[in-house]
């Protein structure tokens, strides 16, 4: 019980810390690729503190609750994603094996994909509480983009779940540690998942939901002050959750938290390189792209998995 409480407190804290680090790192990486110096890596911390002290307007209870639910939902999702460690033999002390997956036995991957909805839906509702048409346009784009990447993503996780014959994420991780990583055993699904990764975390070329130059940051248009601070953190945590899920599904999780985070960092750096060089696409192109290559690859993987079973 005590172990579980430690884990439950620890994993969101790790997620928060890594989220802020990733945000800072992202600006550095992009700046370096653009041959700029870029802001210091702790810039997001400064920004968040500054935003917390600024007085941002509010449009009412739904407007505020949307933000709170979004961040809370993302933090809860973290509890269901294994953050490294090997599954301890029954009776052994789990923390000694570095296992950090406090609730991943409850409901498995299906719960994770549903919990990942909390963030976008809450932000959409909060943004809808204002009367800003830009926010509505952004939300409409977000819904469509979500549909665009969810179809291949669902095929990907179904292929993985069918391959390992379980819906438990913890078991998928431990099976990979026993045999081969997901990249080797379900390579097409891994490739498909990597192709839709930018869309899932909302970076270029799929940053059309925020799109500051077109629709004034879309759903975030009305948010400022402490709300924007929390939403920035939410974006970081969401980024972390998606990449952590990728690492758990295809890169064998981690033997302990450190190796896990190193893998997360690796995937993140590659994703940021894509982010730094590509321009933004339109929503139609995003739909078309996600439903051709990633969808085709994931579908092929699923056929292969079903046939080879």
């Amino acid at each position: 019980m005590v172990t579980q409480i430690i884990q439950i407190v620890l994993s969101p804290l790790i997620a928060l810390a890594v989220a802020v680090l990733l945000l800072g790192l992202s600006r550095q990486i992009i700046a370096r690729i653009h041959r700029r110096y870029g802001p210091p890596i702790y810039q997001p911390i400064i920004d968040i503190i500054r935003l917390m002290t600024q007085r941002g307007i509010s449009h009412g209870a739904l407007f505020e609750l949307g933000v709170v639910f979004a961040l809370a939902g993302s933090l809860v999702t973290v509890l269901f994603v294994p953050l490294g460690g090997t599954s301890a033999p029954p009776g052994a002390y789990p923390l000694a094996h570095g296992l950090l997956s406090p609730l991943s036995s409850s409901g498995g991957l299906l719960v994770v994909i549903y919990l990942m909805l909390f963030g976008p839906i809450s932000i959409a509702l909060g943004a809808g509480a204002s009367a800003n048409p830009n926010a509505s346009i952004g939300v409409s784009r977000k819904m469509l983009l979500a549909l665009a990447y969810e179809l291949p993503f669902l095929l990907v996780i179904l292929a993985v779940m069918s391959h390992y014959g379980t819906i438990s994420l913890a078991e998928i991780v431990s099976r990979q540690q026993d045999t081969a990583w997901g990249v080797v055993s379900v390579p097409l699904a891994a490739l498909a998942a990597f192709l839709i990764l930018p869309a899932m975390v909302g970076i270029r070329p799929f940053d059309l939901v925020g799109a500051p130059q077109e629709i004034a940051s879309g759903p975030l248009a009305e948010y400022g002050g402490r709300y924007l601070a929390l939403l920035t953190v939410q974006q970081g945590v969401h980024l972390f959750v998606v990449i952590a899920l990728f690492v758990d599904l295809f890169l064998g999780g981690g033997l302990n938290v450190i190796t896990f985070l190193v893998k997360v960092l690796g995937v993140f750096v590659i994703a940021e390189m894509i982010n730094a060089v590509l321009p933004r696409v339109r929503i139609e192109n995003a739909l078309k792209f996600c439903w051709t290559w990633p969808m085709g690859l994931a579908f092929l993987q699923m056929v292969v998995t079903v046939v080879s079973r």
Binding site: L75, L110, N132, E150, L154, I167
Partner: protein, 618 residues
């Protein structure tokens, strides 16, 4: 005597409520509400009971029986609760309408008929109540005149086709098994030939498929649901189409039995397979057709078809997990969909009949209770954790994945993502964003509308956090049919592989929410400004006209709409038109001239003489 008492109360109040309305409106209202609440109480008393009452000992050699068992109880309580809430909602919805007396009487008659269906202990009683339900629902659907008449006609014609098929099945059962009582039929069915079993399954299945609006038998539903009065749409979508589901459960698990059913078919093409794939199609295509709709009630109607697909998928797959998921989802859909129809009804009532999603907006502040509950119901349809929709959908997905049908699972998940799109479109276009000028003066909804909506909303949340309550009832149904037992706890499932504990999720969300909320309180507090005081990069946003609703999902709609034409509906219409032409040709025989008729008689006599001379038949 409980089953008899229930039916007597239902039909007596249906008969009394009409004359009561002629005396005084209040008398009618209180009679209707009290009798529906009394029915909820009476059925509640029957929890866990097994009763059997012979109410007609000998009707042309058949014993007519009513019986109460966990299966009947589960559907009966759903019917009673939804109808009673819909009746309370009707109080202010139909008060000033001419047809109010008729509305209450017909609604109570539909309730009585539905209760009769689930309480029927033999197939003849079942069929009689089935017909009563079809016809009284027809009267209610076409009650609004105009387009509702066409919708009602479409409904009743399709229902009649289903009823005829069922009648053939009924006669086949009686002529070869010589019994109609459900347990006896089930017993003799086990030794019947496979061809006969298939005939029974297909004939009854056609009737149930039409009533539950399974693709490709769904075409009556979008018209009927959107044209009926909103409180009755809630009953239609919430429980009436579930009678088809009840029929399927009774047929597949009660009459034929799972063992026989899974082997039914030709080689790999089994009945269960076909039903599952029909379920999957029913999940996916209607969900995306719903995304294209601009009429709020039509959107909900298509969504109903999509959600029925999950139930069919669950009960068609035939494992105990999937069965539990399917039946649980029947309850969940009844709650969510009747809430959404009532919410749209409240909006429609207060905006003067507007249900066009392009003309509404920003009503959340005017109707906070309606919005909050519609949100809960919408999330319940999607199956978000902590709403009643999560557990059944989780059960269905999990079975499909673990039993090795990932393509069916993909269809099920795809439908869910369609549901996210249409649920958000519905909520956003009605309740969020800018309030159009014409709706500035919308009053708050009265208590008689808010209470049923709030009760349903709370029930969805309760079943989301403590799914054990309905799951135990579902499990006792499984027990009747001899399905394997699940390890149900109050908060979810306990099993070695893949437990689910929703209390954990609930607590985690609550703690995380509290923590984030506290952190937010630490930050500097800004002023609350009006909704219209918004940022538009330097230019002012015009107020009252810039609600982004028309073509909300334009890029997607352009992509998918060419593929989502309702070809089945067109085919049926074509069939109906051809039928009309044949009937028209027949009509031309009646020219009105006596000479023509004499000619018919003479030529018929000549034909008879000719036949007799040539073949000597007589």
């Amino acid at each position: 005597m409980l089953p008899v008492a229930i039916l007597v109360v239902a039909f007596a109040s249906a008969a009394l409520v009409y004359p009561a309305g002629k005396v005084h409106g209040r008398l009618r209202d209180s009679l209707a509400v009290l009798s529906t609440l009394l029915l909820v109480g009476l059925i509640g008393l029957g929890y866990g009971a097994w009763r059997e009452v012979v109410y007609v000992p000998d009707f042309l050699g058949v014993q007519l029986v009513l019986r109460l068992n966990p299966l009947a109880w589960f559907f009966a309580i759903t019917v009673a609760v939804v109808v009673s809430l819909s009746t309370i909602f009707s109080l202010s919805y139909v008060r000033h309408k001419e047809s109010a007396d008729f509305h209450y009487a017909a609604t109570l008659a539909v309730e009585g008929a539905m209760l009769g269906i689930v309480l029927a202990g033999d197939l003849l009683t079942f069929f009689i109540f089935w017909e009563l339900m079809s016809w009284s629902a027809y009267l209610l659907i076409s009650c609004n005149r105009g387009r509702a008449l066409d919708a009602g006609l479409k409904y009743i014609i399709m229902s009649l086709v289903g009823s005829c098929a069922m009648l053939i099945g009924l006669l086949a059962v009686y002529s070869s098994l010589h019994v109609l009582s459900i347990p006896l039929v089930a017993e003799r069915m086990q030794t019947a030939s496979p061809g006969f079993v298939l005939l029974v399954v297909l004939t009854f299945g056609l009737g149930f498929g039409i009533k539950s609006a399974m693709v490709p038998l769904h075409t009556w539903l979008p018209d009927a649901h959107s044209e009926a009065a909103s409180p009755f749409s809630a009953v239609l979508s919430g429980v009436l189409i579930k009678m088809g589901i009840y029929g399927f459960v009774l047929l597949m698990y009660g009459l034929v039995g799972l063992r026989l059913l899974l082997g039914l078919g030709f080689g790999w093409l089994t009945f269960s397979h076909v039903l599952c794939w029909l379920g999957a199609i029913t999940v996916v295509i209607p969900a995306f057709i719903a995304v294209l709709q601009t009429d709020a009630k039509r959107l909900l109607a298509w969504s109903s078809i999509g959600q029925i697909g999950y139930i069919i998928l669950g009960i068609g797959f035939g494992t105990s997990l999937a069965f539990a998921g399917g039946v649980f989802h029947a309850l969940n859909h009844a709650l969510c969909k009747s809430l959404l129809f009532l919410a749209v009804g409240a909006v429609e009532h207060h905006t003067g009949g507007v249900r066009d999603l392009d003309r509404l907006g920003g009503l959340a502040k005017r109707m906070p209770v309606t919005f909050a509950c519609a949100l809960i119901a919408g999330l319940g349809l999607v199956g978000v954790p902590l709403t009643g929709g999560f557990m059944p959908k989780w059960l269905i997905y999990r079975t499909l994945i673990e039993e090795g049908s990932p393509f069916l699972a993909f269809a099920a998940l795809l439908g869910t993502w369609g549901a996210i799109l249409y649920v958000y479109k519905l909520l956003h276009n009605i309740f969020l964003g800018q309030l159009p000028e014409e709706h500035r003066a919308v009053p708050r909804a009265p208590a008689s509308m808010c209470i049923p909506i709030a009760v349903l909303g709370l029930a969805i949340l309760l079943f989301g956090v403590a799914p054990g309550i309905p799951l135990r009832a579902v499990q006792s149904i499984g027990e009747v049919f001899g399905l394997a037992q699940l390890k149900v706890t109050l908060w979810g499932l306990a099993s070695d592989a893949g437990a689910l504990n929703l209390l954990n999720i609930c607590l985690a969300v609550a703690v995380a929410f509290a923590a984030v909320f506290l952190v937010m309180r630490l930050g500097a507090k800004g002023p609350r400004v009006s909704q219209e005081d918004s940022y538009a990069a330097g230019s002012a946003v015009p107020v009252g006209r810039y609600h982004y609703t028309v073509d909300f999902y334009n890029p997607l709609c352009r992509m998918i709409s060419p593929y989502l034409k309702d070809r089945v509906d067109r085919f049926y219409s074509w069939l109906a038109a051809r039928g009309g032409e044949i009937a028209d040709l027949t009509r031309r025989m009646y020219t009105g001239y006596a000479g023509t008729y004499v000619f018919y008689i003479v030529s018929f006599a000549a034909l008879l003489i000719f036949l007799q001379l040539v073949w000597r038949i007589w």
